[in-house]
Symmetry: C2
Subunit: 423 residues, 2 copies
C-alpha cells in the first residue's frame, strides 16, 4: 500500500520532495498530539510545530468552516475580520510595532520584509547566520546557508558564525569579543564592497544552527552594531513565535531584542497558510507610497478568522504558560538522562523546543550524526516523532504542539529511555 | 460604521493597502455570484476570478471542513490526498507536463519556476511583457513592468512590447515582423551583456496589458526564438487557467503554446491559498538533486482536497463549456452596444474574461482612463462589480466567477446600458 503510494508520489511530485525516515510514514488521521498511520498505529507527535494548538483543533475547524460559508474575499474590499485579527495580533507586540502586512507563508514574509528593509535603507547588504534557513524564494535562496540550494550565496550576503557556549573553549567574554569582531568585519566588508548594510536576519532560537546557547548580550550587541551602521533588524519568528519558547510570546523578547521587523509563519494558522510581517508605521512609510503591494490570498476573512482563533486558543488554554512549566520539567529529566549516558551532550532549547547534542564518544568530542539519526529512527519504532538539526546534524529536534501535556512528556521520556539503549 | 472600520484598517494594515472605488465597499456575505455589503445591498460579482466556481461553494466548504477534521500535515510524511490531487491536476495537461510542485500562491509559483529556469539553463536573462505583473516577491518585483514597485527593473530583464492588432496601423504581417525583430534584439542584448537567455514569462490573456489581440503566430514564434536561444518558456496561468478562457482548460493551449513550465494560482483553491508549478520530469531533474526544496504549507491534505474539489466542480458543473457559450453571447451583445456608443473601442477577451477599450472621443483616438473609471464607478452604483486594466487604464476588466449564468449576463448588460448613459 505505502510502496504503491510512494511510486505514485514519485510519478507526480517527483523523487526529490523530502520524506522523513528510512521508511516513510503514511498518516491518515490526527487529533491533539497524536497521528495515526495507515496501519492504524498511533504516534505521539513531538515534532510538529505547525499544529501549534494541536492537530485538528475543533474550534479552528468550526471557525474556518463557518467563515468559509459566509464570505472569503481579498482585502481590496473592506471587511472587519482582517482588521479585528490585525488588532488582536498587534496587541501581542509593544506599541511601536503597530502595522502588519499579511502573507501566505513565512517565505513570503521574509522576502517581503527584505524588500522593505532594502527600500528603507537604500542598501542591500545582509548579515545572516552561517547555518540558517529562512525560506525558499529566489531572494531567500541567495541567503540560505544551512540547506542545499542550487544558488550560490548572493554577493551582498555576509554569513556570520553564531556563538555557542556549548561549543567553545573560550570564556564567555572572549567568545563575545570574537563574535563582535566578526560582525564588525562583515559590516565593514559590505561597506567596502559598496553594498552597505541593509539588515540582519535571525531566528532567536537559532534552531537550524542547533539551538545555540548564546553568550549573554550577544544579540543586543549585534543589533546595536547593525543600527549604528544604518541597518535594520528582522526577527524571524517562524520557529520561535506564538508562545513556543514559553516565557515570552515572541522568541526575540526572551533575548531582549528590539527588532524593526518581525516575520511570522508556520504556527500562525495551525496549518492554514498564513504568514505576516509586523513592523512600525515609520518603516511602512518607506515602502507603502512606492509600491502597489497587494497579496491576493492574504488577509481574507477565512485566513483572518483562523489566525484569530489560534491566538484565542493559545490564550484561553494558556498554552505558552504550560509550555514554560512542561519544558523546564522535561529539561530536568533530560539532565538526569545525561548523567547516565556519556554520549549525551548539553541539554538545549527553551519552552517546548528542546533537545541535546549526541556524541560519538564518551569524551563528548565528536558530534555524531549517525547516532542521532539512529535515535530518531528508534524513537519512531517506539512511536514518537522527533527529528534532528544542527550544523553536524547531531542535535535532537523535539518541538511538539503546545497542546503537549505531562502525560505526553512521560511517554516521550519513556520512549527516549528505551531508544537510548538501542543506539 | 464603514468610516470607523477604514480608520481601524489604516491603524493596523496602514494606509497603502489598495482598496477599490472612491468610496470602498464593505462586504459581509457572499454566495454564488453575489456579494452583500454592510447595508444589506446585493452586488453582482462580475470581477472576481478567485472564487472561480462561485463564492462559498458548499461542496468546497464541506470537503475542507471534513479533511481539516481528519488530518492536515506537511508532505514529509506520505499522504494520499496530495498524490490524488496531483494526478487529477496533471490529467488536465499533455503527458509531457508530468510533475507538479505545490506552493501557496501564484507569486511563490512564478518565483519557484524561475529558480528552476535559471538552474536548468545556467542563464539569468528574462524576456517579459513591458506592461505586466507576475507576483510580489523580491525577484518578481525586479521584472514587474505594469505596476508601481520601489525596485528598478532588474539588469537581466528585457521588456518586450506585446503586439496588439487593436492598437496598430501596421498590417498583421508587418506587426509580427516588427515584434519578432524586437524579441531578436532583446535576446541578442542579453547575450551581449553576458546574462544569456533563461526564460520568457507570459500570461496568455495579456490581461494586465489590456487583453491584447495578438497577430496570429506571435506567441509560437516567440517561443521558437526563445527555445532556439536555449531559453525556457513559462506560461503564467494565474489569470487564464482553470477554464477561464472557455474553449481550453489552460489559456496557453488557446494560442497553441507548448510551455516548459506552467504556473498556477488565484482560482486554484477558490480562495484557499494554493499555487503550483507544473513541468516535466526532465526539467525537475535539473533542479531536484541540487535543492533541498520544501514548502511547509503546500500540498497539505486540506489544500489538496480543496484543490481537487475545485477541479471536480469545474468538470461536474461543466463551467468551462458554459463560459465559452456565455462569453461569446456577451461579446455579441457588447458589439451591439459598440454600434451605439462611438467611444466604445474594440471588444476584447475570450471566455469569461472580456471588456472593451473606452475612448475620449468619437474618433476612437485617445484612450480614456477617466471615462473608464467613471464607468466602473457607475457600474458599482448599479450594483455590478467590474474593474479596469491596460497600459492606459482604459480597458474594462470583466471577469466574473465561472458560475456566472445567462440571467447574470443580462443583469450585467442592463447595468452597462444604464452606466454608459451616465459617462
Amino acid at each position: 500500500m505505502t510502496a504503491t503510494l510512494l511510486e505514485r508520489r514519485y510519478k507526480t511530485l517527483g523523487p526529490y520532495s523530502p520524506l522523513f525516515y528510512d521508511e516513510p510514514l503514511e498518516f491518515v488521521a490526527a487529533h491533539d498530539v497524536w497521528l495515526t498511520d495507515a496501519r492504524g498505529e498511533q504516534y505521539l507527535d513531538a515534532y510538529n510545530n505547525v499544529p501549534q494548538v494541536g492537530h485538528c483543533h475543533p474550534r479552528i475547524i468550526a471557525a474556518m468552516a463557518d467563515q468559509a460559508g459566509r464570505l472569503n474575499i481579498h482585502t481590496r474590499y473592506l471587511n472587519n475580520h482582517v482588521v479585528d485579527y490585525a488588532e488582536q495580533l498587534l496587541g501581542t507586540f509593544p506599541p511601536e510595532l503597530n502595522r502588519v502586512l499579511f502573507t501566505n507563508s513565512g517565505s513570503e514574509a521574509n522576502d517581503l520584509a527584505f524588500r522593505m528593509v532594502r527600500q528603507a535603507t537604500g542598501a542591500s547588504g545582509v548579515l545572516v547566520s552561517d547555518f540558517s534557513y529562512h525560506g525558499h524564494t529566489s531572494y531567500l535562496a541567495g541567503l540560505t546557508t544551512g540547506l542545499r540550494t542550487g544558488e550560490a550565496l548572493a554577493a551582498e550576503v555576509r554569513p556570520i558564525r553564531i556563538p555557542d557556549m556549548d561549543r567553545t573553549t573560550l570564556s564567555e567574554a572572549d567568545l563575545l569579543a570574537a563574535s563582535f569582531a566578526e560582525v564588525d568585519a562583515a559590516i565593514e566588508s559590505l561597506d567596502r564592497a559598496g553594498y552597505g548594510l541593509a539588515g540582519f536576519l535571525f531566528d532567536s532560537l537559532f534552531s537550524t544552527e542547533g539551538l545555540n546557547t548564546l553568550p549573554a548580550g550577544y544579540i543586543t550587541g549585534v543589533i546595536d552594531r547593525v543600527h549604528a551602521a544604518g541597518g535594520l533588524v528582522v526577527a524571524d519568528e517562524v520557529q520561535s513565535g506564538f508562545g513556543r519558547t514559553g516565557t515570552h510570546f515572541w522568541g526575540h523578547q526572551r533575548i531582549g531584542a528590539a527588532p524593526d521587523f518581525v516575520t511570522l509563519g508556520k504556527p500562525m494558522g495551525n496549518g492554514h497558510p498564513i504568514g505576516g510581517v509586523v513592523t512600525s508605521s515609520e518603516m511602512l512609510d518607506h515602502f507603502g507610497p512606492h509600491n502597489n503591494y497587494f497579496n491576493t490570498f492574504a488577509g481574507t476573512p477565512v485566513s483572518a478568522v483562523v489566525g484569530s482563533t489560534v491566538l484565542s486558543i493559545l490564550q484561553d488554554e494558556q498554552l505558552p504558560q504550560k509550555a514554560t512549566i512542561l519544558g523546564a520539567s522535561i529539561k530536568e529529566s533530560l539532565e538526569k538522562l545525561r548523567a547516565e549516558y556519556p554520549f549525551i551532550g548539553p541539554i538545549k532549547g527553551t519552552g517546548l523546543f528542546f533537545g541535546f547534542e549526541v556524541f560519538d564518544d564518551e569524551a563528548r568530542q565528536t558530534p555524531s550524526a549517525g547516532r542521532t539519526k539512529q535515535l530518531v529512527e528508534a524513537m519512531k519504532r517506539n512511536h514518537v516523532l522527533i527529528s534532528r538539526i544542527g550544523r553536524d546534524d547531531s542535535v535532537l529536534k523535539i518541538r511538539p504542539p503546545l497542546a503537549f501535556r505531562s502525560e505526553h512528556a512521560d511517554r516521550l521520556l519513556d520512549a527516549l529511555k528505551i531508544s537510548l539503549k538501542e543506539v
